[in-house]
């Protein structure tokens, strides 16, 4: 006779859950002797001063051990992984112990082992008792037949009682997998909630993870811009310059060409030079090599000198900021100046970059028409996003009639 697979699975699971519950009882009751001893001794002698510190010390030193045991028990018997709420210190010292004691997770663990533990043990015990009773009832006939024949003869009504016991036992046993499963699940859930990371811990972890991955992303984007800049610099730009040089050479060495050919050459020459200038501005906007090499202040002169109106540039930086911050500041000023040139109708611009405490403050002010709108798709919304990517603050003041001021504050750790 073969056991149907579903029944086999059910039996295996019931065995696993019951085993799990059985091992829980001693662990959950481990602290009971401590406080019952404390209560009894105090009642007998009335000496709080001795029993209280001793029992507290015992509980506090027992709790971490019990937590480790519970983690192991859940993993080994249920396959449930209760995550640590914080990394384990490499070595225990008074400071790490104090830090542990002052953390909410320590008190969640104490609460679990001291208060919830006995309750869990009670529910575990009731499941085990139900299992024992069920087993005893279901095998009742066996017990009866094991008794001496005389006892059966004198026991009036056993033949009626026994089937009832048997039915009761079998129904208890059939309920057992479900009952053990419910209690085991409830236990592992409460253990995960109190011994594992709390919601705040999990959120903190998530925030740390997201902040890290955002930083990686920004760095990756910057690296990509640098790569594109390098590729264009070493490839396309050199090719274009070479083309313009060859056209220039052709014009210089062949003055004997007919007028039309000369004109076409001159035209091509001009076009090539215009393309070089245009591509050059674009590529420098990606990531100027001098920014890495000499920092923000040095990179800004090239930027400001390209603006077709007078620029006043003032940079006061005692030291270089982090590359990511420099790169965002450069991008902001580059975009802001492009905006002024395109939209503002200004006659002059002022750019100031200052370090104020732990903040790099960038100001770009123009005397144009004002009325700039960050939602108007003028690149201002892109600016705000780029600033936000490094936890910076972006402010725009642009009353109609001007002046327009873009203020950006970028945090830079000292």
């Amino acid at each position: 006779m073969t056991i149907p697979p579903r029944l086999g699975r059910l039996a295996r699971r019931a065995r696993r859950d019951t085993g799990f519950l059985a091992t829980g009882v001693p662990v959950h009751l481990a602290l009971v002797p401590v406080w019952s001893w404390a209560a009894a001794t105090t009642a007998r002698t009335g000496n709080w001063a001795l029993t209280l510190p001793v029992s507290v010390a015992l509980v506090l030193s027992g709790v971490p051990v019990l937590t480790v045991v519970q983690r192991y028990r859940h993993r080994a018997l249920l396959g449930v992984d209760i995550r640590r709420s914080a990394p384990v210190p490499r070595r225990w010292s008074p400071t790490t112990a104090l830090r542990w004691l002052s953390s909410p997770r320590a008190w969640r663990q104490v609460g679990y082992h001291l208060l919830l533990g006995p309750l869990v043990a009670l529910s575990e015990l009731s499941v085990l008792v139900a299992a024992a009773v069920g087993l005893a009832g279901a095998t009742g006939y066996g017990w009866v037949w094991a008794l001496p024949a005389g006892v059966r003869r004198d026991w009036f009504g056993w033949a009626t009682l026994m089937p009832c016991y048997t039915v009761l036992g079998l129904s208890l046993l059939s309920l057992l997998p479900w009952l053990a499963g419910v209690v085991a699940r409830a236990e592992s859930r409460s253990a995960a909630a109190l011994l594992g990371p709390s919601r705040a811990d999990r959120l903190q972890e998530r925030v740390a993870y997201l902040a890290g991955s955002r930083t990686d992303l920004i760095e990756a984007v910057d690296a990509e811009r640098r790569r594109i800049e390098r590729d264009l610099h070493d490839g396309t730009q050199q090719r274009l310059i070479s083309l313009a040089v060859n056209l220039g050479l052709a014009m210089a060495t062949r003055p004997d060409l007919p007028g039309e050919a000369r004109e076409a050459l001159a035209e091509a020459h001009l076009e090539a030079k215009a393309a070089i200038a245009e591509l050059g501005d674009l590529v420098r906007g990606l990531h100027p090599a001098v920014l890495e090499d000499r920092g923000l202040d040095a990179a800004l002169s090239g930027l400001a000198a390209r603006v077709p109106l007078p620029v006043r540039l003032r940079v006061e930086l005692p030291e270089r900021a982090a590359p990511a911050v420099e790169s965002v500041a450069y991008f902001v000023i580059s975009e802001a100046l492009a905006n002024v040139t395109k939209h503002a109708g200004a006659s002059r611009v002022e750019v100031t970059v200052r370090r104020v405490g732990t903040v790099l403050r960038v100001n770009v002010t123009d005397d144009g028409l004002g009325g700039a709108d960050p939602s108007g798709g003028t690149g201002l919304s892109g600016l705000a996003k780029r600033v936000g990517s490094v936890d910076g603050v972006f402010r725009l003041s642009s009353p109609v009639g001007g002046p327009t001021t873009v203020t950006v504050e970028l945090p830079c750790a000292r």
Partner: protein, 215 residues
């Protein structure tokens, strides 16, 4: 005159050789990085080194640093730096060693073959050639004291900072040389610069005023 070229783009090197030969130079060596450049200068002792700023291995300012080494060790070799972008900081580094016999020009200027050849010749003969874009950056850095100048005087100052002679400035602005001389005197008076007769001394004074040279 003999010249050495340091440029990592082989494509452009071919064009540079042709342009220099048109300008009457004899190219004695072509190299692709700063180390080979210093070796070639040591070996050939040319009158001119035409040097790309961004070269292997780091592609940042190799050329600028090599130029400083050459100007210190072999003052008789003039150096013209070429770059896709000109940066005033690099110009300052270059001019800090010596303002005569140095040039710093955008690569795209090579396309204007005759002008470029003339500028290189000027440097090889002990003059200075700074790209208008470098000068624009230098002027920007000295915005406040320049407010006293008229627009025309600013133009003259910029052309002077590029390293042009009075005749060159007169030609660029299509005015007489005496008018240029008058503008220059006004500029020197307004900016409180020491009066000097020789073209080169005047360029030096202007560059020093613009903060591009400490030498």
């Amino acid at each position: 005159m003999r010249a050495v070229i340091a440029e990592d783009s082989v494509l452009l090197r071919v064009g540079l050789v042709k342009v220099l030969e048109m300008g009457g130079f004899q190219v004695v060596a072509e190299v692709g990085d700063a180390e080979a450049l210093l070796a070639a200068v040591e070996e050939h002792q040319p009158e001119l080194a035409l040097v790309d700023v961004r070269m292997p291995p780091t592609f940042t300012d190799e050329g600028v640093r090599a130029a400083a080494v050459i100007r210190r060790g072999r003052p008789r070799t003039a150096v013209v730096l070429l770059s896709q972008y000109v940066e005033e900081r690099y110009a300052a580094d270059l001019l800090a060693t010596n303002t005569s016999g140095v040039g710093y020009l955008l690569k795209q200027r090579v396309a204007d073959v005759q002008d470029f050849a003339a500028a290189v010749r000027r440097v090889a003969e002990g003059g200075t050639a700074l790209d208008p874009q470098v000068v624009a950056q230098l002027l920007l850095r000295r915005g406040d004291p320049l407010a006293a100048l008229t627009p025309r005087e600013r133009e003259v100052l910029a052309l002077m900072a590029e390293g042009r002679s009075n005749a060159g400035i007169a030609e660029a602005l299509t005015v007489s040389e005496s008018a240029v001389a008058k503008h220059i005197n006004n500029i020197f008076a307004k900016l409180d610069l020491p009066v000097a007769d020789a073209d080169h001394r005047r360029v030096l004074a202007v560059l020093r005023f613009l903060g591009a040279s400490r030498g």
